[in-house]
Amino acid sequence: MLDLLKNQLLFSGLLIAVLMGAINLGVAYCTFYERKISAWIQNREGPNRVGFFGLFWGFHFWGYGQPMADGLKFLLKEEMIPDKADKPLYVMAPAISFIVSTIGIAVIPWGGYLDIDADGIVDVACQVANPDIGLLYVLGVGSLGVYGVVLGAWASNNKYSLFGGIRAAAQMLSYEIPLGLAILVVVLSCGEVRLENIVRAQIEGGGTWNVFVHPLAFFLLFVTQLAETNRAPFDMAESEQELVGGFHTEYGALKFALFFLSEYTHMIINSAFLCVLFLGGWHFPWIPGLGLEDTAWWAVLAKMAMLGTKIAGCVFVYMWIRWTLPRFRFDQLMRLAWKGLIPTGLGLVALAVVMTYFGIPGSESVWPKLIWGLGGNAAVLFMVVLVVGMSPAGVTGRQANMPPISLLSPAKRVPRADQGTAN
Amino acid sequence: MATEGQLVILGAALFAMGLVGFLTRRNLIIMFLCTELMFQGVLVNLVAMGKIHGQLDGQVFGVFLLAVAAVEAAVALGLVVLLFRRRGSLAPDVWAIMQG
């Protein structure tokens, strides 16, 4: 048995099975905690009724059976296809969405290398695949994510859905650029595209996670990931108030559940990438067993638990933001991407290039990295502030087209006789 | 693994189909899509040829080809949007008057 597991292919297969189960379970409880967090923020209790199949009568398990009940409900509802919908695409769209959001788990390094029989020789990597392209795979998978939304929107043959899909397409295309720039900063500062080696580079550099060296890039990546997952405040594709649910207006039952699950899977996977790229992956200083040289099975489990904790933290921030911030207007969204994030990202890439030129990332000591990184980030931030400060205060979109409210402002108050018409 | 000859024939087939589509279809967007199909044929050929010569140059040109395709798509779609706005149709026939 142990010898069989030393085969990386078989181990990867096992890992896939375990990860799919774990992520689906995590997604189920993400939906639960989304509701819980929204309730806590609004001084409510949230779902706390559903126990497990009536076992332990009178004890509700704090509502932890809720995701199962929800899933069962989705399963048992009637599958409907609108009459004028484009049926093949209508059925395919949720599946595409779900598959694309799931396959990203393949390249995440979950726990370094594993020495199964404790003979001091590493047997397998705790990663489904470690391809040569590494990070680029992440980009490729992310860029396909828009298809599920756009196709579902178009196939529903509903105007609101179409609006949602079109918004999603424009938004995802725009936010892919700062996403790529933020990832480029990591690639430049680690000199690597393989995710496992990026984690390694962060640990070997004295534990300076990339977030300490490039905090702005971390912020940039987080914001663009919010947009890529269509999460608030970037949920233009499904803005409930204007578009009655946007691209999934016409979906119900399991097909809607797939859209829903894919959004949360996307959140988890994106958080995992954020942790791997900027938060040191499975590494945490001062905790024994989380180092590069620890390859026993318990150390690998501890590393996985550490990465899971970091992911859970990121997902919490996602939810916290969703229940705090209102949605952007679409032109604000575009302006943020093209005039805010992309120039900042370019500045950060330039900073990373300069740092690489002077050999900062490869230095043994921690301090040059921190000083260069934080100083450079401060400089980029200062430049952004300077540019924003010099540009005229932007009044855009609808506000720009509004007549001035001078009718009622003191300077131009109309004479008393005309006030009847003024109102 | 496909051999170079198989890849070249595949590239030829993709190119030919793109050509057929470009000649027959009556939708501007599909016509541009067919030119992209021809790009795919060229890309496959480039990689195959690079492999024959044992060099990376074929793949490097493939990258430049991608950039050119992106440029083509951007400008072509801009033009399509402009044309569509004038006539309200994607058919190239409504612009037959430009034949001169």
Partner: protein, 261 residues
């Protein structure tokens, strides 16, 4: 290798051409079903012929699968009457070609193909298509122009190019040093330790782009910039902007033309 192989391949081209001809959308009774059958038969026979003459090699099955997928996808791009489906079948072509490139060890190009084509260009196509064409298909889409001559021209070109293949190995075993990256972790010894993770295709491509072809790279960048400016200039909505909005006009209607989009 069989001497009659080239003629067999030309014959298969003819069958495929006939299939495409029949499958092209036309105004009268649709012949898409026999056309599709002919085209599928041509692809299947081609793969069978190549597989028969090729020596067994690693990954050959995948390569035939993805080649067949690319060909079928391309055929549907050309013949499908619904424009959105054309775009989707093109995505299928992209993915198949990208997988073929992975099998060839060109991973960077493969993933760049997916990011640039499937992720950006085709989404833009779909975007414009959905904006401009609300219904599934328009009259112009279902009637093709000069299908016979076009198919003749296309498949003559194809035969000409294929005829030039000549001494290329159409069916042979792959060189042994080609490493199949997809199956990299299939062998335990390759994934054992970090030192096994040699710099691969991506690093080599990066080095080539940044040293030998750096001028070309910069030129491409300039080209992209020009295209960006050009596309903006071409497609920019020409809206007369009033300097001082007229307060008498109702809200939201000031200085706006009824935009077609």
């Amino acid at each position: 290798m069989n001497a009659s192989l080239p003629y067999l391949i030309y014959a298969l081209f003819a069958v495929g051409g006939a299939g495409i001809y029949l499958a092209l959308p036309r105004s009268g009774r649709s012949t898409a079903v026999p056309g599709s059958i002919l085209g599928l038969a041509a692809v299947g026979m081609f793969v069978a012929v190549v597989a028969k003459y090729a020596l067994p090699s690693e990954g050959a099955g995948f390569s035939y699968l993805f080649s067949a997928m690319a060909l079928i996808g391309a055929g549907r791009v050309v013949t499908h009457p619904k424009a959105v489906y054309c775009v989707l079948y093109f995505v299928l072509v992209i993915i198949s070609v990208s997988m073929l490139l992975v099998l060839q060890g060109a991973e960077f190009l493969a993933i760049a193909l997916i990011v640039v084509y499937a992720g950006a260009i085709l989404v833009t196509y779909a975007f414009v298509l959905m904006l401009s064409q609300q219904s599934a298909s328009v009259p112009g889409d279902v009637r093709s122009r000069e299908p016979f001559l076009a198919v003749l021209a296309g498949f003559f070109t194809m035969a000409c190019i294929a005829g030039q293949v000549g001494d290329l190995p159409l069916a042979a075993a792959p060189s042994s040093e080609q490493v199949i990256r997809l199956a990299q972790h299939g062998e335990a010894d390759q994934a054992v330790m970090p030192e096994m993770m040699v710099d691969g295709n991506t690093a080599a491509m990066g080095a080539a782009l940044m040293t030998k072809y750096v001028v070309t790279l910069e030129t491409t960048g300039v080209l992209l910039l020009v295209a960006l400016v050009g596309a903006m200039a071409v497609a920019k909505k020409r809206v007369p902007i009033e300097e001082s909005p007229d307060p008498e006009k109702p809200l939201g209607q000031v200085g706006r033309e009824a935009a077609p989009f």
